[in-house]
């Protein structure tokens, strides 16, 4: 559970940092930071709710699976929304501020984020809940990789 909370916080911190930094980077703010904060909170709660192992004494194992699948699908959907907004940012003017190399890496990172969302969705739809943790770890890696590249550079 501690691991999941850490993952959730890391993902949120990463995503939150990205938008906040961009918004405070001067010039026209093309992304609503409040929107992102709401998204982050929702994602964090979803990650926490994926842990329903022993607190529900009445539910059967398949009912617990159903709950995890439902939250995983919602998590996937919300990550996809985040990816869509990142793409939107890139199309508007974000890429213009980046070098060609950085723009390429940024676009690849967004694509990776989308892939993570699709992977979580696929695993959830097939009820392969035993693979959920690894897919969520991939999501975290994707966020960390992107922010280690852009978070610091644009984080003033």
């Amino acid at each position: 559970m501690v691991k999941k909370i850490f993952l959730a916080c890391s993902v949120m911190a990463c995503l939150g940092g990205c938008y906040r930094e961009y918004a405070s980077n001067g010039g026209e703010v093309t992304y609503d930071v409040r929107d992102h904060k709401l998204q982050s909170t929702t994602l964090k709660e979803l990650m926490l709710r994926l842990d329903v192992s022993i607190s529900d004494n009445y539910k059967s194992e398949l009912e617990k699976e159903d709950t995890r699948v439902r939250y995983a699908l919602r998590l996937s959907s919300d990550v996809q929304k985040v990816a869509d907004r990142l793409k939107e940012m890139a199309h508007k003017d974000f890429n213009k501020r980046l070098s060609n190399e950085d723009a390429r890496i940024y676009n690849e990172s967004v694509e990776r984020l989308e892939n993570c969302a699709h992977a979580i969705e696929k695993v959830a739809k097939n009820y392969e809940v035993e693979h959920l943790d690894s897919k969520i770890a991939n999501l975290k890696q994707s966020c960390v990789a992107c922010h280690s590249r852009f978070g610091v550079a644009y984080g003033r």
């Binding site: 501690v2 022993i54 009820y127 392969e128």
Partner: protein, 416 residues
């Protein structure tokens, strides 16, 4: 000149032939390498298969099998004596006994589940047992028989088998002991479910079982049911929590039933019973939440509080008079830290009996009950739980007698 041309042509043809031979040789090596790889792969598969043989054999090589369960030890101190907490088990004032301490591992569970991909989606099954099958004794070995809890399959939106009723409280409080107005039934059923992102719909056809109280206060099960209990439920998953509303319709029937005094009713009768159950969890601060469940119905019977309030009364002739029953509980769960949490819950259940039907034994018919539960849980290790709980329960019967009980529970549980 001509000889030179012939020589050069010969050399050229020779080179071409050599190239072709080399190419042929290369292809042959490639074929051999592939064949070798194939043989090695087959050998490895055979080896793996021979290693698996004798350990586990599944009907499909695409089936994923899961095994799990839990170890659960409960220690219960009751004043007066009592182990299980439910409305009917709260002793009345005249039945007061000394305190008693009991320890039990009967709530340990074992389950096996499987998942097989099909053209209609994943086919999932679950079989689960606990050890409440029969009472053992505490003198020597404390043997308890296994009891079937769940045995069902799910594919697409279809559920078939024995599992939790759709009328059950969708959100339950986080307590060790039962809540006094528990709406909890596990039975054979066929259920159709439809899901979307924030809503789920269930239509469930479940095993019927009429329970009626006769003039002596005895609870009868006529075994004359012919129509399944039908339950429709809507589940809602908003950002603020979870909620569900279940509506049930059921036929309560008897046909020349034997009463507790061995006489038999002279006619058959039936009545339409119904029930509504609303439960929800609302997030409050951080990981805290407030949970509630409220139900009302006429003829709900065994669906509420483990049949503490029968579906209705049966008179000597066999006429059925359904009784109204209702209950509610509210609980607040607070996280002190990531691994420490508590729940404070308050519950009430009652019935509006048609007391004219009761001629005697009114002390056997429950009127109302209430409970207060407070606990502290510690997740010492992942999936491990240590908890303590205090319970105060009260009960009143139609004769006016009352009783109460105090329970202290200590639990050690590990889900594997």
């Amino acid at each position: 000149m001509g000889a030179r041309i012939v020589f050069l042509l010969g050399c050229f043809l020779g080179m071409l032939h050599a190239d072709a031979a080399v190419e042929e040789l290369r292809e042959e090596i490639e074929r051999l390498t592939q064949r070798l790889d194939q043989i090695e792969k087959e050998k490895l598969q055979e080896k793996q298969a021979s290693q698996q043989k004798g350990f586990l054999e599944l009907t499909s090589d695409q089936t994923v099998l899961g095994v799990g369960g839990r170890i659960d030890l409960q220690s219960i101190w009751g004043w007066p004596e009592g182990a299980l907490f439910a409305d009917s088990r709260i002793p009345l004032e005249s039945a007061h006994d000394n305190a008693q301490m009991k320890m039990s591992a009967r709530d340990s569970r074992l389950w096996v589940k499987s998942r097989t991909p099909t053209e209609y989606g994943a086919l999932r099954t679950l079989v689960e047992i606990d050890f409440w099958g029969s009472d053992g004794n505490e003198k020597n070995v404390n043997g308890h028989n296994p009891r079937l809890r769940h045995a069902y399959l799910q594919i697409g939106g279809l559920t078939a088998g024995q599992t939790n009723s759709a009328f059950n409280a969708f959100v339950t409080v986080d307590t060790i002991s039962f809540i006094i107005n528990d709406t909890f039934v596990r039975q054979p059923l066929i259920r159709l479910s439809f899901e979307n992102e924030t809503l789920g719909y269930d239509l469930s056809f479940e095993q019927p079982e009429t329970t009626l109280v006769d003039k002596n206060g005895a609870i009868l099960t006529p075994q004359d049911d012919v129509v399944p209990d039908i339950i429709a439920r809507v589940r809602y998953y908003p950002s603020w929590g979870e909620a569900a509303l279940a509506v049930m319709g059921r036929s309560i029937a008897q046909d020349h039933t034997s009463l507790s005094d061995t006489t038999q009713t002279t006619k058959k009768d039936s009545a339409f019973g119904y029930g509504v159950n609303l439960s929800a969890k609302i997030k409050t601060f951080d990981r805290d939440d407030i949970r509630f469940d409220a139900q009302y119905g006429k003829g709900m019977g065994r669906y509420l509080a483990y049949d503490a309030y029968a579906a209705g009364f049966i008179d000597d002739a066999g006429n059925i008079a359904l009784q109204k029953s209702y209950g509610w509980h509210v609980g607040y769960r607070h996280y002190w830290a990531k691994t420490w949490r508590s729940t404070l819950a308050w519950a009430y259940a009652a019935t509006k009996n048609d007391s004219r039907v009761l001629h005697a034994k009114k002390e056997l018919v429950n009127k109302s009950a209430s409970s207060l539960q407070a606990n502290l849980f510690w997740n010492a290790v992942p999936n491990g739980l240590v908890g303590v709980e205090y319970v105060k329960g009260k009960r009143e019967v139609f004769s006016g007698k009352q009783g109460d009980i105090d329970l202290a529970l200590l639990i050690f549980r590990y889900d594997f």
